[in-house]
């Protein structure tokens, strides 16, 4: 387990929104200034707590999008009947404050000094912690072969689209699948992830790769089962199920 991941009891820290960026029509990145924030590892998340004027509180977990050492950033998808995500995506602006607790997680974590080939499999906003891993690798010039298999509904829903076009090269590549709608001339995949697709994309079993899968429960379980069906050892695969929590 990552040595830096165990930090003792975490405290709620004051976070201030330092910048915002729209990624897609439903997804926005918030850059945060959090005095006292201890650095994190790629894959970890934090808890966000909002308090209303009458004392009512709501709390949700969000994966950290930024690489260690970069400005702390969250990327949040608006869920229509959500309680916290509509606030973070549509309302929060620079200077606004709330509380965060983290970094959390010692299991779904990747460190760039690991030379094992890595397969990242993300569905929708499940790409967020995987992006932190890709950014972490790029930041230190990591050499482990890394491939991101990223499933989105349509091109418009691809989070970090421009950055994912620029990052590849030097051992990192991206394979997209658009499950609902594809633009004219689209040459990547056009369907939900299935065993055939995985067989074409996944690293060979002989590489004994590390795999990180993140997305909805259905997405994660199908991808993990598919990889095991190809001969992957379940212990190589680390998963994080996002609920439709809002």
């Amino acid at each position: 387990m990552a040595r830096a991941a165990v930090l003792g009891r975490l405290a709620w820290l004051a976070a201030e929104v330092a910048g915002t960026k729209w990624e897609t029509p439903r997804v926005r990145t918030l850059e945060l200034s959090v005095p006292g924030w201890a650095d994190h590892l790629a894959g970890q998340h934090l808890d966000v707590r909002l308090t209303a004027e009458d004392g009512y509180q709501a709390q949700r977990s969000y994966s950290i999008a930024s690489a260690p050492g970069e400005t702390l950033a969250l990327t949040v998808e608006r869920l229509d009947d959500g309680e916290v995500s509509p606030y973070l995506v549509d309302e929060a602006r620079e200077g606004d404050g709330f509380e965060v607790r983290g970094p959390i997680g010692g299991y779904f974590v990747w460190e760039p000094d690991d030379p094992t080939p890595v397969l990242l499999v993300g569905g929708g906003s499940g790409v967020v912690p995987l992006m932190a891993m890709a950014r972490s690798r790029a930041q230190v010039g990591g050499t482990a072969p890394m491939r991101l298999l990223y499933s989105s509904r349509s091109l418009e829903d691809v989070i970090y689209r421009d950055e994912l076009e620029e990052l590849p090269g030097d051992g990192f590549d991206v394979v997209h699948t658009l499950t609902r709608e594809q633009p004219a001339g689209w040459t990547d995949y056009s369907r939900r992830i299935d065993p055939e697709l995985l067989a074409e994309v996944a690293w060979p079993v002989e590489d004994e790769p590390k795999v990180f899968v993140c997305g909805s429960t259905r997405f994660v379980d199908a991808a993990a089962d598919g990889l095991v069906g190809l001969g992957y050892d379940p212990r190589w695969i680390r998963t994080e199920r996002f609920g439709a929590t809002g």
Partner: protein, 200 residues
């Protein structure tokens, strides 16, 4: 208390105080809560039974259960996680109907369910028109995520007592804490007395 976030309110609505118990908020949705996977008992295998007294348990198959006299009722429901929903419409069989003709000295019941969930109630909280086994919600068959084919419905208590996927009632002489009552939740759960946890 934490840092106040400008402009954050949450999704809560206030409601008329005579209908919304203390500490509750109104919702228009019907949130789905669950302590485990949704069971899918085939309807041919489904039975409902009353157990735990001197003679044989009484049991109904689905066809027999659906042939019992049923009622359509409209009730407010209150979840201990703080949401309340007013004027919900249900169809089902009154527990009074199910207990008719059964001689016993029980003072409590335990509802038992597919998936292993249990909840305990005083007998007087499920009799005299206070409880049903419901198989219809809002004019439609009760969906599995909301407890279908049938759930217990005890609207005057917190909704964790309205056990989903109910398969029967066990009559008891003593109160026996169920799934949540064993681990902190109140044995009775009256929302108007805010009986959420032990000692409330």
């Amino acid at each position: 208390m934490g840092i106040i976030s400008r402009g954050f309110r949450g999704r809560r609505q206030d409601g008329p105080p005579d209908r919304v118990p203390p500490g509750q908020y109104l919702t228009d949705d019907f949130p789905v809560l669950s302590a485990g996977p949704t069971p899918h008992t085939p309807i041919e295998e489904w039975t409902f039974s009353i157990q735990g007294f001197d003679s044989e348990p009484v049991s109904w198959t689905w066809e027999e259960f659906r042939a019992l006299p049923s009622e359509t009722i409209t009730k407010d429901i209150h979840c201990v996680t703080k949401w309340s929903k007013l004027d919900t419409s249900w169809e089902g069989v009154s527990v009074d109907t199910l207990l008719e003709g059964i001689e016993h000295e029980a003072e409590y019941v335990v509802a038992f369910c597919d998936g292993g969930y249990t909840t305990n109630l005083p007998l007087e909280d499920v009799t005299d028109g206070k409880a049903w086994v419901a198989y219809g919600y809002d004019g439609e068959p009760l969906e599995p995520e909301h407890g279908g084919p049938a759930r217990l419905l005890v609207p005057h208590l917190y909704f964790w007592k309205s056990a989903k996927w109910v398969r029967g009632l066990s009559l008891r002489e003593e109160d026996e804490p169920g799934f949540w009552e064993q681990n902190g939740y109140h044995l009775r759960g009256d929302p108007w007395l805010e009986q959420r946890y032990w000692g409330d």
